[in-house]
Structures are given as structure tokens and as C-alpha cells.
């Protein structure tokens, strides 16, 4: 029961995390229509993954591993791009956001970007969904595994992952965006760094990157494989027990500059100083 719980928790978290962040972002902006589309997209992705899983199981075909890893890499990189865009967008608009919530249109997210977020939520589920569906359905054919507990464990893992994703959404939605950003800016950088690291790992598994594969650290003490804790750390932060040199390199190259950008105190924006400067202007004459 535990092994399938751990695997489904990790796979589920990798999807629920991205969906939760997107939903919180849209929700805190009051985009209920876009939010509705996110849930529809997630539902559609789940159905699609189940259909593919059932199809492959019926035909007793395996999921093509290399192509699955390639798909995970492409979607993972898209997610890194989108989360990065969200971080930079929130940083640029943090000041104007309060005004926006009071009814001004300044800082509103363009329709195109919003659609991109909806599509991303769909893709995030697709990225982990095929593998998870095939894994769960495959359990029915294993004679040396007691199917009932294994399936129950897997579903529990998915349920917990979904619950945590929903928690991110619920927690995020109550913060106004300026605070959402201050609280989560740095966290989002680390999450995106983890996504990037995972994308480089899947790129290796897809056969696209074959250099820098020496093990950089042994993090077995931190991420003991096969445990619930390891599923959380790997699912949320992308950190595995045996990160390779290339994974650590891209993580540092992304996270360090992004953290500087996010945490560096912002200078006052010129428009702001201009606005305060114009106030006493008539008096001067």
C-alpha cells in the first residue's frame, strides 16, 4: 500500500502544485471565468489520461518511456517559463495591484496570458497523468502485488496531492496579490528551480542530454527514497536523492539570479515619483 501511495503522491503533487499556483493566481485576481476553465481543463486532462491508460492496458502495450520523458521535459520547461513570467509579472505589478483590486484596470493580466495559464494547468496534469494512469491500471495485472491495497494506496496518494493543491489555491486566494507575491515570490522561484531540475532529469531519460550526469551529491539522508517525505520533497521541490551535476548547475543558475531579482528591494518607480512631484507643482508658480 505504501509504495503505490508514495509514487502517486509524488506524481500527483507535481501536477497539483502547478494547478494550485495557477488557480491561486487567477483566483486572487478575481478571474472566476478563467478559473472555471482551469477546472474544466484539469477534468479533461484526467479523462484523457484515463482513456490512454485504459487503451494501453487493453492492448497490453507499455507507455513509450522515452517519449513520455520527452513530453515531461517540454511541458516542464513550459511550466518554468510560465511560473517565471508570473513571478516577474507580480514583481512589476506588486505596487499597482492594490489599486487594481479597488477597481482600476491597471495591472490586469492580458487575455492571452490568462488563456496560457488555463492551457498550462491542462498540460501539467497531462504531464504526470499518463504515467500515473498506466501505473495504477497496471496494478490489476500484477500477480505478486495485492491489487486492492495497492490501488487504495495510489488513490490515497492522488487524493492527498489534490488536497494539497487545493490548499495552495485556497491559501493563495485569500491573500491580495501584493501580499501573495511577497509571501510566495521566493517560494515560487524555488519551485520553478525544481521544475527546471526535473526537466533536465527527464531530458536525460528522454536521451536528449547525456553530459554532466555524474552524481553531484548524495542526499539520501534528506530524501530517503520510498518514503512519504521523499515524495513530498521530490514532488514539490524537484529534489531527488541523487542529483546530477547538470541538475545542480541549472538549479543554481536559475534560482540565484531569480532570488536576487525577487528579494532585492525595489526602487521607486519613476511614474510614482512623477505623480507625487506633480502635486505641489501648481504652487511653485
Amino acid at each position: 500500500m505504501l509504495p503505490s501511495f508514495v509514487i502517486c503522491l509524488r506524481e500527483g503533487l507535481e501536477a497539483a502544485l502547478i494547478v494550485g499556483i495557477i488557480a491561486a493566481f487567477l483566483g486572487s485576481q478575481g478571474r472566476s471565468e478563467a478559473l472555471r476553465q482551469v477546472w474544466i481543463g484539469v477534468g479533461a486532462a484526467v479523462v484523457l489520461c484515463l482513456a490512454v491508460g485504459i487503451g494501453l492496458t487493453v492492448l497490453s502495450r507499455d507507455l513509450p518511456q522515452k517519449q513520455q520523458e520527452g513530453l515531461e521535459t517540454v511541458i516542464g520547461l513550459l511550466a518554468v517559463g510560465l511560473v517565471t513570467y508570473m513571478i516577474l509579472w507580480m514583481r512589476a505589478h506588486a505596487r499597482g495591484l492594490k489599486k487594481h483590486l479597488e477597481g482600476a484596470t491597471a495591472g490586469a493580466l492580458a487575455t492571452g496570458s490568462m488563456r496560457a495559464l488555463v492551457v498550462m494547468a491542462f498540460l501539467a496534469v497531462l504531464r504526470e497523468g499518463f504515467e500515473t494512469a498506466v501505473f495504477l491500471l497496471g496494478l490489476f495485472n500484477e500477480s505478486t502485488i495485492s491489487t486492492g491495497p495497492a490501488i487504495a494506496g495510489g488513490l490515497l496518494g492522488l487524493g492527498l496531492a489534490g488536497g494539497l493543491g487545493y490548499g495552495i489555491y485556497k491559501g493563495g486566494i485569500h491573500l491580495d496579490l501584493a501580499r501573495f507575491f511577497r509571501v510566495t515570490g521566493a517560494v515560487l522561484v524555488v519551485v520553478a528551480g525544481g521544475l527546471l531540475m526535473t526537466a533536465f532529469r527527464t531530458a536525460h531519460e528522454a536521451g536528449w542530454i547525456n553530459f554532466g550526469q555524474t552524481q553531484a551529491f548524495d542526499l539520501t539522508w534528506l530524501v530517503h527514497p520510498g518514503t512519504t517525505w521523499s515524495a513530498m520533497v521530490t514532488g514539490i521541490l524537484g529534489i531527488t536523492a541523487h542529483p546530477t551535476v547538470i541538475e545542480v548547475t541549472v538549479w543554481v543558475l536559475y534560482v540565484v539570479p531569480m532570488l536576487i531579482v525577487v528579494l532585492w528591494p525595489q526602487r521607486r518607480r519613476p511614474t510614482r515619483t512623477a505623480a507625487t512631484a506633480t502635486e505641489p507643482a501648481p504652487v511653485a508658480a
Binding site: L2, P3, S4, V6, I7, R61, D62, P64, Q65, K66, Q67, Q68, G70, L71, V74, I75, L78, Y85, A110, T111, G112, S113, R115, A116, V119, M120, F122, L123, L126, F130, E131, F135, G138, E142, T144, I145, A150, H204, E205, G207, N210, F211, Q213, H224, P225, G226, T240, A241, H242
Partner: protein, 127 residues
């Protein structure tokens, strides 16, 4: 940002889905003719030594089984740092297999999480 990111995302998704679908048959192409020789890769807490450890070049089917090793969840067959075949999400008791044609050379079986996480697999010139 306008409608462009949406289109780009949708396009990439379609491309990715197509790649994933079109590949179902490509596994067989790597195999060529002849009856595949069987290699058993049993992952335990201690390692994942292949049995037999040596085979002549040709098509092979690797049957992987996780024998009570919760820390091991994947097994890879590698040539240098390149992954040739892989199975993930191998919970204890689970069996999986992949087939491919191997030329003479030294290969590595990698099972992260086991005490000795690498084992050597030698392919000799075809007899």
C-alpha cells in the same frame, strides 16, 4: 503578451501528444530479427546484478522485477551516460520489461536507491 502564448502552448501540446502517440510502434524497430535472449534484472536492497551477466550481441528482453526493495523505484540500462532502456515506478513485486538489440560492449545497469546501485552487463561479439 497577447494571444501568442496560448497558440504556442496549444501547438506544443499537440506536437508533444503526437510524438507520444506515434512512438508506440518504434520499440519493435530497435529489436531487429531473431528471438530475443532473456536477461533478468532483479532489484533488491543490495543491488541489481543482471542474470546472465554476459550475452552475445543481438536482441534481448530485459525483465525487471523489484524484490522487496521499496527504496528502488527505477532501473535503467545505460551505455556510458546514455540511457538505452528504463522502467520507472517499480514498486516491490512489480514486473516490467523492455526489449532492444545490443551490440558488443560494456553496459551498466543502474538502480538508484540500492546499496550497490550499479552493475556491469557485458555483451560479447555475436557467435
Amino acid at each position: 503578451m497577447s494571444i501568442r502564448p496560448t497558440l504556442a502552448l496549444t501547438g506544443l501540446a499537440a506536437a508533444a501528444a503526437l510524438t507520444a502517440c506515434s512512438s508506440a510502434s518504434s520499440g519493435a524497430a530497435d529489436l531487429g530479427s531473431g528471438t530475443p535472449a532473456a536477461v533478468a534484472l532483479v532489484a533488491t536492497k543490495d543491488g541489481c546484478a543482471p542474470a546472465p551477466a554476459t550475452l552475445p550481441a543481438g536482441p534481448m528482453t530485459f525483465t525487471i522485477r523489484n524484490d522487496n526493495a521499496p527504496a528502488v523505484s527505477e532501473v535503467e540500462l545505460m551505455k556510458g551516460s546514455k540511457i538505452l532502456g528504463e522502467k520507472e515506478n517499480l514498486i516491490p513485486g512489480k514486473t516490467a520489461s523492455f526489449s532492444l538489440r545490443l551490440a558488443a560492449g560494456t553496459y551498466t545497469v543502474y538502480c538508484p536507491g540500492a546499496k550497490t546501485n550499479k552493475a556491469t552487463f557485458v555483451v560479447t561479439a555475436a557467435s
